[in-house]
C-alpha cells in the first residue's frame, strides 16, 4: 500500500528526515516511536502533503501512485487520513458542517452523489457510537474550546466518517484519560480491516496494548533505526532510548 524509500525532507534549510524507509501493507498496523523531535510528526506532515516541508530526495509510492505528485486534498480523497497531534480550531464551523463538506467533496471526487441530510445523519449517528462522542460536541465550533481529550476523540470520529485506507494517528493517545484511551482505541480497532492500514505514532506502550501493532519502528534523527514486533515497544518502555542511540552511534 505504502512504500517509502530513502526519504529526505527539510524545512527552512533544516533537514529533518534523512533517508527514511518504510513499507506498509494493507491490513497492517505499524507503530512509530522515537524521542521528541526525531521527525515523527514531520513524516506524518510529508505524507499528508504539507507544503512547508520540502522533499529533497527519495520517493513515496501509495497504492501504485507517486504520492508526492498529489495535492493534499487529492491524497485525502485517495484515502490518506491524518489525525493531527494538534488539531486546529475553526471558529463558527461545527464539526458536523465540516464533516458534511468533507464527506461530500470526497464523494464527489469519486463520482458519487452527495449524501442527503438523512443518510448523512444516520451515518453520523453510527460513527458517533463508535467513539462514544456526544452530538453536543459536534454541534460546537470545530475544536474551539475543546479539551485535549475531546479534540483527539473528534479526530477519530472524523477518521470513522471518512473511512480512510491509510490512517496516520499522530499521538492520538496523548491527553486522553484512561477510559477515553480505551474507547478511542476500541474505535480504531473497529475501523481496522484487511483493506486498510494504520500508522500509529505514540510515546507509550499503553496504547499498543489496545491497538496491537504488527510492527514497531523507532525513528531517531530522521531515520528508522530499528524495527521489530510489539515486543520492541515493551523493551523501549523498560529501557528508554539510550541503548538505541548508542547502537546508532556505534554504527
Amino acid at each position: 500500500m505504502l512504500t517509502i524509500k530513502n526519504l529526505h525532507a527539510k524545512i527552512e534549510d533544516n533537514e529533518i528526515l534523512k533517508g527514511l524507509n518504510l513499507e506498509v501493507n494493507a491490513g497492517e498496523v505499524h507503530a512509530i516511536m522515537g524521542p521528541n523531535g526525531s521527525g515523527k510528526s514531520t513524516l506524518a506532515s510529508v505524507l499528508a502533503g504539507r507544503e512547508e516541508f520540502e522533499v529533497t530526495e527519495g520517493e513515496i509510492t501509495y497504492q501504485g501512485k507517486n504520492l508526492l505528485e498529489l495535492e493534499p486534498e487529492e491524497r485525502a480523497r485517495e484515502g490518506v487520513f491524518l489525525a493531527f497531534q494538534y488539531p486546529v480550531e475553526i471558529p463558527g464551523v461545527s464539526t458536523i458542517n465540516f464533516m458534511k463538506t468533507a464527506v461530500n467533496q470526497v464523494r464527489e471526487s469519486r463520482g458519487q452523489e452527495p449524501l442527503d441530510a438523512v443518510s448523512f445523519l444516520s451515518m453520523m449517528k453510527e460513527k458517533m457510537k463508535l467513539v462514544e462522542i456526544d452530538q453536543s460536541l459536534l454541534n460546537r465550533s470545530l475544536n474551539e474550546g475543546f479539551s485535549g481529550g475531546e479534540k483527539k476523540r473528534n479526530e477519530i470520529f472524523q477518521m470513522a466518517m471518512l473511512e480512510p485506507k491509510l490512517a496516520i494517528l499522530d499521538e492520538t493517545d496523548s491527553g486522553l484519560d484512561i477510559d477515553a484511551l480505551r474507547i478511542v482505541a476500541n474505535g480504531v480497532n473497529k475501523l481496522r480491516t484487511k483493506n486498510n492500514a494504520i500508522i500509529v505514532v505514540t510515546h507509550y506502550q499503553r496504547l499498543l496494548e489496545y491497538i496491537v501493532p504488527d510492527f514497531v519502528h523507532v525513528l531517531y534523527k530522521g531515520k528508522i533505526v530499528k524495527s521489530g514486533t510489539k515486543e520492541l515497544a515493551l523493551e523501549l518502555e523498560a529501557k528508554g532510548y539510550d541503548w538505541i542511540k548508542d547502537q546508532v552511534a556505534v554504527v
Partner: protein
C-alpha cells in the same frame, strides 16, 4: 429603454418629476434639494480614493420599456424576467419557494410588486415609491425626509433631487407582517446612476422584516449609486432590515465597478421601538455606507450586524452610528471585515450617548480578518459619552486566515476554495445568523464567490 439626456440641471429634475406625474409639492421638494446640493461639497473624509466624479456625465433617469403597468408577474416583460433569472434570483422561484413579496427596481423604475393584494388585506402598503406618491401622498409627504433630511449630506441631497423610484412600506398599528418583504435593485443601462429611495414606516406595535438585494452587470465605467433608506419606527415597533449587496465590484485590476454612496438611517421614535440592520456587503468598487439608528424613544434599541468583504482593488468605508437620545436605550454593533487582494476595508462607527440618555448601553465588536499581506483593515471607532450612567463596551480583533486551518481542511479532502469559504463563513456566522434563512444561503455563496482565488 427610455432615458433622460446626460447631466443634471433643474430641467432634468422637472423631466423626472413629470415622467412620474408627481404632485407639485414633490417637484418643489426635489428642486429645493437640488439647490442645496449645489452648495454642498462631496465628503472627503472616508478612507477611500477615486477619481473625481463628473456629475454631468451621468444619466439620471432610465426606464426599461414597458407597455402597461404590470399587475402580476405574468404581465412583466419576459426579457426582464430573464434578466432576473440569469442572476439566479428569479422572482417566480422566490415567489414559489419562499413566499417573499418582492418589489424589483430595474435601473430606475419599479417593475413588479408581488403579493400586493394579500398584504393589502392586512392594511400593509408595499409598493413602488412612485405608486405610493400617487396613492398615498399624505403618508409620503409626512414621512419623506423625516429621518434623513434632504440636506443631510451630499449624496442624500443628490438622491432627494433625482431619486427615480424605490420602495414604500407602511405597516399599520399592531400588524405583524406575515412574510419577508423584499426589494431587488439592479442597474442595467450603461452610464446610468441609480438613486432609489426606500421609506419604511412601522406604526405602533408592528413588525416587519425587510430584505434588499442588489446587483449590476460588469461594465468598464464606474457607475454611481446613491440611495437613501429611511425607517420610521413608532412605539413598540420592530423593523429588521437586511441587505445583501453585490453590486459589480470592478475587475481584478480595479477597472469599473459601482460607487456605492448610501445613506441609511432609522429613527426609533417611539418608546421600546427596535431596528436591526444586517448587511452583507460583497460588491461595489467603493462603498460608503453607515446604516444608523437614532434612538429617540426611551428603551428603544438599535442593532447593526455587518459583514463587509473586499477583494482585488475594492474599497469599503462602512460602519454605523448609534445616537442614544432616550433613556435606557440600547445598541449593539457586530462588524466583521474581511479583506483580501489589494483591497482596503475600514470600519467607521460612532456611538453617541447624549446628555438625556440615562442608563444607555452599547456593545461593539469589530473584527477584521486579513487574507494575504497586500490588503488593509482599519477601524475608526468614535465614542462620545455625555451621560455617564450607562455603559459602553468596545472590543476589536484582527486575525489572519491561518495556513494551519486551510491545511486541516485540505487534509479532510476539502479543496482550497471551499476551505476558505468554510472558514470565512464561520468567522461571519454571528452576522449571517441574523439573516432570514434563504438569504443566508445566498450570502454564504456570495462570500465564497467574492473571495475566489484570493489565497495561495
Amino acid at each position: 429603454m427610455e432615458s433622460a439626456p446626460k447631466g443634471l440641471n433643474e430641467d432634468i429634475i422637472r423631466f423626472i418629476s413629470a415622467k412620474k406625474s408627481e404632485p407639485e409639492w414633490l417637484l418643489e421638494w426635489r428642486l429645493k434639494a437640488y439647490r442645496q446640493w449645489k452648495t454642498m461639497k462631496e465628503p472627503k473624509w472616508p478612507n477611500v480614493s477615486y477619481p473625481e466624479i463628473n456629475y454631468q456625465d451621468v444619466i439620471y433617469y432610465a426606464a426599461p420599456k414597458q407597455k402597461a403597468k404590470p399587475k402580476n408577474l405574468e404581465d412583466v416583460d419576459p426579457e426582464l424576467l430573464k434578466t432576473f433569472e440569469k442572476l439566479g434570483i428569479s422572482l417566480t422561484e422566490q415567489k414559489r419557494l419562499t413566499g417573499v413579496a418582492v418589489d424589483a427596481v430595474l435601473d430606475s423604475v419599479s417593475v413588479a410588486t408581488t403579493f400586493k393584494e394579500k398584504l393589502a388585506e392586512l392594511g400593509i402598503i408595499f409598493c413602488s415609491f412612485s405608486e405610493a406618491v400617487q396613492e398615498h401622498p399624505e403618508l409620503v409627504k409626512k414621512y419623506l425626509g423625516s429621518v434623513v433630511p434632504m440636506n443631510d449630506n451630499y449624496f442624500a441631497a443628490l438622491n432627494s433631487a433625482v431619486f427615480s423610484d424605490g420602495s414604500f412600506c407602511y405597516i399599520p398599528k399592531g400588524v405583524r407582517c406575515p412574510m419577508e418583504l423584499s426589494t431587488y435593485f439592479r442597474i442595467n443601462a450603461a452610464n446610468t446612476g441609480q438613486f432609489e429611495r426606500t421609506l419604511i414606516v412601522a406604526d405602533e406595535g408592528s413588525y416587519v422584516s425587510y430584505l434588499e438585494g442588489c446587483t449590476a452587470p460588469q461594465r468598464d465605467e464606474n457607475q454611481l449609486h446613491a440611495a437613501v433608506v429611511e425607517i420610521y419606527a413608532m412605539k413598540n415597533a420592530h423593523v429588521k432590515y437586511s441587505t445583501v449587496q453585490n453590486w459589480f465590484p470592478g475587475d481584478k485590476e480595479g477597472k469599473g465597478g459601482i460607487y456605492n454612496f448610501v445613506t441609511k438611517r432609522a429613527l426609533c421614535f417611539g418608546d421600546h421601538s427596535k431596528v436591526s440592520w444586517t448587511q452583507v456587503e460583497t460588491g461595489s468598487a467603493i462603498t460608503w455606507k453607515y446604516p444608523s439608528c437614532v434612538l429617540k424613544g426611551d428603551y428603544s434599541s438599535g442593532e447593526f450586524y455587518s459583514v463587509a468583504v473586499t477583494n482585488n482593488y475594492q474599497q469599503a468605508d462602512t460602519g454605523t452610528k448609534m445616537i442614544h437620545i432616550g433613556k435606557h436605550t440600547k445598541s449593539r454593533i457586530v462588524s466583521k471585515g474581511i479583506s483580501a487582494g489589494h483591497s482596503q476595508n475600514s470600519y467607521r462607527g460612532q456611538v453617541h450617548i447624549m446628555k438625556r440618555a440615562e442608563h444607555a448601553r452599547n456593545f461593539s465588536q469589530c473584527d477584521s480578518l486579513l487574507m494575504g499581506d497586500k490588503c488593509g483593515a482599519h477601524t475608526f471607532p468614535y465614542i462620545d459619552v455625555e451621560n455617564n450612567s450607562g455603559k459602553v463596551e468596545h472590543e476589536a480583533t484582527t486575525s489572519k486566515i491561518g495556513e494551519d486551518q486551510i491545511f486541516y481542511c485540505l487534509q479532510r479532502g476539502i479543496d482550497e476554495e471551499s476551505a476558505v469559504a468554510l472558514i470565512v463563513n464561520g468567522y461571519a456566522k454571528e452576522v449571517l445568523n441574523q439573516l432570514p434563512m434563504e438569504f443566508a444561503v445566498e450570502a454564504q455563496k456570495l462570500l465564497a464567490l467574492t473571495l475566489e482565488g484570493s489565497v495561495g
